[in-house]
Symmetry: C2
C-alpha cells in the first residue's frame, strides 16, 4: 500500500518559511515514528499568479482533490492588491475550499499557559481558554449568486447573496455536535435570526439536528452580535461555537486575537469522506502572509506546525502523534523559546523561524 499523500501549498509571504519548518517535522515523523508520507508541492495565491496568471492552476486543483491532506501556508500580499478580483490570491484559496467542498472549518482558540500575558485581556479571562469555532466554509455570502457590481439607473450597486440550504446547515451542525461530544459537550450556534431569514433557517435546522441526533449535547443559540460581545467578555463560557461563513470569519479572528497568540493558531477545513475513508482536508494557520516580515527568518512557524498536528489527528487518525507534537510545542514555549512576535518577559530565548523548528524537533 502506498503512503498517504500530502500536498504542500506554501503560498506567499511567510508561507514558504513556516512551511519549511513543517517539512522538518514531517521528516522527523518518517524517520522516527515510521509515519511515511508522499509529499509533493505546488503553487497557490500570488506565487501561482506570477507563474500561471491564475491564483490556482487547474492541475494544482486536481492534485488537491487527490491528496489525502493539503497543507497551506498563506496567500496574499500588497503586490497583488491591484489585481482584478477574479485573480486575487484569495480566489485560489476560496476555489480550493469550494471545489474540495470543505464545509467544516475548525478553528481552535486556545490560550497557551506560557503566553497568557500576550493577550490584551486580563489573565484570568483567557488563561486555560480552549474553545473551538466551527465555521461553515463553502456557502453563505462568500459564494451565493447573484453577486457582482451592476449599474442601475445612473449608479452602481454592489451585490452579494447569502444562501443556505437545509442540508448545508445540517452537515456543519453535525460536525459541530460530533466535536462537542469529544470535548465539553456544549454547542452554541450563532446567527442573526432576529433580522435575517437565513438565520431563522439556520437556527431551526441546528435545533432539529440536535433534537433528532444529538439530544445529549447541550445546545444554545445566540445572536452573532451578542456572541461577539460574549467572546470579548467571558470567552470561557463557550465550548464549541457553530456559525456561518461570514460570522465565522469575524468571530474566529476575534477569538484568535483574544488568546494573544495569533502566530500559534492552526485550522482544519474538512469535507466529506473520500473513498479511502479520510475526509477531504486542508490545513492552514489562521495568520496571514505577513508580507512585512517575509523572507527574514523571523516568522513564528508554530501555527503551521500545529496545523500539521491537526492533520495527524483528523486526516491520519493519529491523535496520539498529534498530541505528542502539541506537547513538544508546549514544552518549547515553557522553556522560554520565542520567535520575534512573542518577545517579552524574563528568561526568554529569542529564536528565528528555523531555530524554532529545530527546537520543536528536538523536543519531539
Amino acid at each position: 500500500m502506498s503512503n498517504p499523500s500530502i500536498l504542500i501549498l506554501a503560498g506567499d509571504g511567510i508561507g514558504p518559511e513556516v512551511m519549511g519548518e513543517v517539512k522538518k517535522i514531517i521528516t522527523w515523523y518518517g524517520d522516527k515514528r515510521g509515519l511515511q508520507f508522499d509529499v509533493s508541492e505546488d503553487l497557490v495565491g500570488g506565487s501561482a499568479y506570477d507563474v500561471h496568471g491564475t491564483p490556482l492552476h487547474d492541475d494544482t486543483m486536481a492534485k488537491a482533490q487527490e491528496a489525502d491532506a493539503v497543507l497551506l501556508g498563506a496567500v496574499g500580499g500588497p503586490k497583488y492588491d491591484v489585481l482584478d478580483f477574479s485573480v486575487k490570491p484569495e480566489r485560489g484559496l476560496l476555489r480550493l475550499r469550494k471545489e474540495m467542498d470543505l464545509y467544516s472549518n475548525l478553528r481552535p482558540a486556545q490560550c497557551f499557559d506560557a503566553l497568557a500575558d500576550f493577550s490584551s485581556l486580563k489573565k484570568d479571562v483567557v488563561a486555560g481558554l480552549d474553545i473551538m469555532i466551527v465555521r461553515e466554509l463553502t456557502s453563505g455570502i462568500y459564494f451565493g449568486e447573484p453577486r457582482g457590481i451592476i449599474t442601475e439607473g445612473n449608479e452602481r450597486v454592489g451585490i452579494n447573496t447569502q444562501r443556505y440550504t437545509e442540508s448545508e446547515i445540517a452537515r456543519v451542525a453535525r460536525s459541530a455536535f460530533e466535536l462537542a461530544k469529544r470535548r465539553g459537550n456544549k454547542v452554541c450556534s450563532m446567527e442573526k435570526a432576529n433580522v435575517m431569514e437565513s438565520g431563522i433557517l439556520w437556527r431551526e435546522v441546528v435545533q432539529k439536528i440536535h433534537d433528532e441526533e444529538y439530544p445529549e449535547v447541550e445546545l444554545s443559540h445566540m445572536y452573532a452580535d451578542a456572541g461577539a460581545m460574549q467572546l470579548c467578555r467571558w470567552p470561557k463560557q463557550f465550548d464549541v461555537i457553530v456559525t456561518d461563513n461570514l460570522f465565522g470569519d469575524l468571530l474566529s479572528d476575534a477569538a484568535a486575537m483574544l488568546t494573544g497568540s495569533l502566530g500559534m493558531l492552526p485550522s482544519a477545513s474538512l469535507g466529506a469522506p473520500m473513498a479511502n475513508g479520510r475526509p477531504k482536508a486542508l490545513y492552514e494557520p489562521v495568520h496571514g502572509s505577513a508580507p512585512d516580515i517575509a523572507g527574514q527568518n523571523k516568522a513564528n512557524p508554530i501555527a503551521c506546525i500545529l496545523s500539521f498536528a491537526m492533520a495527524l489527528r483528523y486526516s491520519f487518525d493519529k491523535g496520539d502523534e498529534a498530541t505528542r507534537l502539541e506537547q513538544a510545542v508546549e514544552k518549547v514555549l515553557a522553556d522560554g523559546v520565542r520567535t520575534a512576535d512573542l518577545l517579552a518577559g524574563e528568561g526568554v530565548t529569542p529564536v528565528s523561524t528555523t531555530e524554532m523548528g529545530d527546537k520543536i524537533v528536538e523536543a519531539l
Copy 2:
C-alpha cells in the same frame, strides 16, 4: 415658535425604567436651563404588539416622522420569541430606522476612567479609549431583496441579499469624515473587499469621497475580520470606524463590550435634514431590554441618559449642554455611585435606577 418635539418610545423590558430617568433630566433642562421640549410618548416593540398586534403602529410611525428627535428605550423579550418574524419586536425598530432613513448610526465606544476595571481587557488597553463607530443603518443585508425562506427541489433555502448603491455608501462615508474632522481626523473603513463585490464598491466609494471632499482626513481600509482582531488587540489605534450594517452590528457590539461599560453606551441614528434643518434622528442605548432584571429598579439608566445627551448635541445643537450632562454623569461615577451592573471595588455606593437618575440631576 413652538418648542422642539421629542417622541419617547420606551419599549420593552427595562426600557420604561431607564426612560423614566431620562424624563427627569428633560424636566431639569426645562426648569433650570430654559430648554423646553414638547414631549409625547408611544409604544414600540413587544409592548406595541401587545396592544396593536404590530410592533409599530402606523400612527406611531407618523409621529416619529414628525418629531424633532425620537428617544427609544429597548425592544424585545422572551415572551415574543414565538412571534412570527414579521411582527417580532425588532421589526418595529427596523421599520423606524428604514422609514426615517436613519442611515448613519453613531456608536461611541468610550471607556470611563472610573470604570476601566470592569473591562475584560487590561487597563492600559482600554483606559481613555474613545472611538466612534459609524454604522450604515438602512441598507445592506438587513433590508436587501430578495429575502426569505423558499423551497428548491426538496429542501428549503434561507436567502438574504446584501445590496449597496454608490450613494448609500457615499452618504454614510461623508458622515464619518465629518465626525472625524471634529475628533481625531482619522477614519478606518472596514469591509471584506477580498471576498465580496459589495465590499469592493464600498472601498472604492469611501476612497473617492475622501479624495474629492475630505483629503485632509487620514483614511485607511481594513478587512472586517482583521478589524475585529485589531479592536480586541489595541482599540486605541482607531478614531472613527465606518462600516456596513451587518459588520457594524458585530463590531460595535464587540467594541462596546471592550469598554466594560455596556450599560453606559448611547447611540444616535441620524438621517437627512428635515425642513427645519434638524436631521431626522433616533437615540437609543446600545444595551438591550434585559428582561431578566426588568421591573426591579436595578437597571443602569446612564446609557439612555447619555443618548439624550447625544440628542442635545446632534438634534438641538446644544453641544455645551450635552457636555454638561456628560460631565454630571462622570462626576457621579467618580463619586463611586453605581447601579447593580457595576458593583465592585472599594468606596462604592450601590444605588437603584431611580436613585442614579436623582444623583445625576443633583450633579447637574
